[in-house]
């Protein structure tokens, strides 16, 4: 599914620069559910953003589904993000003046799907996350957990192959976190490849593989037995 070799990334800070990723090698197969762990500032988000084509690496190779991601035009990158990738953010990143249904339908709009079709599909995904009755509500009228479920529905709407989640439970309480994780696990069961950044051990253990970052390199990469989230719900 994806292949990363000797990936480097630095941020310029004043005259000097901060070397955040110092040669990452990572390969993820289809259907995997990977947790990227590490202390705060270790470069987890940076790595995920590069994988999600929201950011660019300075050096190294990145091959996504057979395509080398390098110097893509922004138009091409947009198409890839739309068809291939689904994002779930810690802060949900919903558009605050659009209701739940419209938010979920937005990626489909950029796919050029017809309005009616789009709304039906968006509704289908909202039902899937259990929010059919909240379709007409604005983000500010929904709880954190509900908003994250809207965000998940949105990420799923375009039926992406790879789901990228940056601390999806970071803003939620334990109970809600587990509900969200149960969803994500279910998606993985259905075959979605999932890459998730977290710094919580119990959340990481709900994935099937844990990659640990420290000082910009991978220090550990192990398969784990998945802890099912349903049991806590």
């Amino acid at each position: 599914m994806l292949e990363i070799r000797q990936l480097h990334k630095s941020y310029p800070i004043g005259d000097s620069s901060l070397h955040v990723l110092k040669g990452i090698d990572l390969s993820v197969e289809e259907g995997e559910m990977v947790a990227i762990m590490g202390s705060s500032g270790s470069g987890k988000s940076t790595l995920l953003n590069i994988i999600g084509m929201l950011d660019e690496a300075d050096e190294g190779e990145y091959i996504l589904d057979g395509l080398a991601i390098k110097n893509l035009t922004e138009k091409k990158a947009a198409v890839y993000r739309n068809k291939f990738l689904g994002f779930i953010f810690q802060s949900f990143n919903l558009i605050n003046y659009k209701n739940a249904l419209e938010n979920v339908a937005l990626p489909l709009y950029y796919q050029g799907m017809k309005r009616k079709e789009r709304q039906e599909l968006a509704m289908f995904h909202l039902e899937k996350v259990g929010l059919a009755n909240w379709a007409q509500h604005l983000p500010k009228e929904l709880s954190g957990g509900q908003n994250q479920r809207v965000a998940i529905a949105r990420a799923l709407a375009a039926n992406p192959k790879l789901l990228l989640a940056d601390e999806p439970t970071g803003a939620l309480d334990t109970q809600t976190s587990h509900e969200i994780m149960a969803f994500i696990q279910q998606l993985n069961d259905e075959g979605k490849t999932i890459l998730m950044v977290t710094h919580e051990e119990d959340i990481a253990n709900m994935c099937k593989r844990i990659v640990r970052l420290r000082d910009g390199v991978i220090i550990e990469d192990t398969k784990v037995t998945q802890v099912r989230a349903e049991q806590y719900v």
Binding site: V79, Y97, Y110
Partner: protein, 414 residues
């Protein structure tokens, strides 16, 4: 692109973004609206003023002079100063033949007389005129006709009167044509009634009789009261005035430097001053109007700039979901165009109202300050298009900025 414009979603997006940014949208629209409103108000008033002036001068050939004999102030060729200057028909012919650029020279005579009709009477100015007067000083006839060549040849006892006299000597609605009035106990048949102009230069004029009749009745011989000269449009009317006066001085043994020998009034010169004033005012109007428009455009641009800065995160989200930079810019352009267009059209409508109101208060009656205060539709639409285009271009600058950074940087913006 056309499909995009008729797409309901496009307008849903526009509408959503308005309802989210109400205050800002309204401020932008007020900027454009005010610009167009001011432009229309100013241009319309300037045009109205210009029309008012034109109406005021409309009856006169604007490149004309009138000259009247006075008394000399310098001795010359054995003549003492203080000599009365009496112009004659010979002078007229000479001026007509010798001064370059002359279109018409019109001799006139004037006297004051008692005019009687039935039991009504009054003292009025009686003018002896040629038909050609009409070319120099348009008579707006309400009834009948002006003096013609026949009247001159046959020395007919006919009179053309102003509506002022008509009001004094006739009953309301009474038909004056064909009736007789007595001037110095001589009967004249009324052949025309004309509307008194709003502006008059020179002596007041009430009753016009044929020049030849005047000559005979008042025993004038070759003498004339004063003359009016009009120049051809391509000639300098001031030069014509100087040349004519010099010639007349020569013919009448007057010192060439004698400045009091003639009384004269150069309408062309006065009119040029007013025209200059009007041109200046028009220039000022345009200057203010364009400055307003530019200010309006900057207002829009500024507001759009803030809008896009605040919307950077939203743009980041949209890009993460797969919006191409083109799609984002297109949306912003549609918003900007729609915003300025609606505001501009509203400005045009309210500007029209302003002109209607101005017309109501200042545009009524014969002596209105503003006549037909209006602006050409073309000018208004060009202004509107300029606003829309500039507003869009300025709006695009921040849109370009928001799409040229990496999506993650846009997303990080709070």
């Amino acid at each position: 692109m056309f499909k995009f414009l008729i797409d309901r979603d496009t307008w849903q997006e526009v509408f959503d973004s308005f309802s989210k940014n109400k205050l800002r949208s309204i401020l932008t629209m007020v900027g454009v609206w005010w610009g167009i409103l001011l432009l229309i108000g100013l241009l319309g008033s300037a045009r109205g003023l210009e029309n008012a002036f034109n109406r005021l001068f409309g009856d006169f050939a604007t490149n004309s002079i009138f000259v009247m004999g006075n008394t000399t102030s310098m001795p010359f060729k054995g003549f003492q100063e203080g000599k009365r200057v009496q112009l004659t028909l010979t002078d007229i012919k000479k001026v007509e033949e010798n001064v370059e650029g002359i279109e018409f020279v019109v001799p006139r005579n004037i006297t004051q007389s008692l005019v009687v009709r039935n039991f009504l009477s009054g003292r009025f100015s009686i003018m002896g005129d040629y038909p050609i007067l009409d070319k120099v000083k348009k008579k707006k006839l309400i009834h009948g006709r002006f003096i013609n060549q026949n009247d001159i040849s046959d020395r007919k006892k006919v009179a053309v009167i102003s509506d002022d006299i008509y009001k004094q000597l006739f009953q309301k609605e009474e038909d004056a044509i064909g009736t007789y009035i007595q001037i110095n106990s001589i009967n004249y048949k009324v052949i025309g009634v004309y509307q008194t102009g709003t502006m008059n230069f020179g002596p007041s004029e009430d009753v016009h009789i044929p020049f030849s009749t005047f000559q005979q009745v008042y025993n004038k011989g070759e003498k004339i009261g004063f003359l009016m000269i009009t120049g051809k449009p391509e000639y300098d009317i001031q030069q014509i005035e100087e040349d004519s006066k010099l010639l007349l001085k020569n013919l009448n043994n007057i010192h060439p430097k004698d400045s009091q020998a003639f009384r004269s009034f150069n309408l062309g010169k006065e009119f040029a001053k007013l025209t200059g004033f009007l041109t200046g005012m028009q220039f000022l109007t345009w200057f203010v109007g364009i400055a307003t428009l530019i200010a309006g455009v900057f207002a829009i641009g500024n507001i759009l700039l803030i809008t896009v800065k605040e919307r950077t995160k939203e743009i980041g989200i949209r890009r993460a979901l797969g919006a191409t930079p083109f799609e984002i810019k297109r949306q912003i352009v549609v918003e900007a165009v729609f915003l300025t267009l609606v505001a501009g059209l509203f400005g045009i409508i309210t500007g029209g109202w302003i002109l209607i109101i101005l017309d109501h208060f200042f545009g009524q009656g014969a002596e209105a300050t503003l006549v037909n205060a209006s602006v050409s539709i073309a000018v208004v639409f060009i202004a509107l298009i300029i606003l829309v285009v500039l507003g869009t271009l300025i709006g695009l600058i921040p849109a370009f900025k928001a799409t040229s950074i990496k999506p993650i940087e846009a997303l990080r913006e709070e």
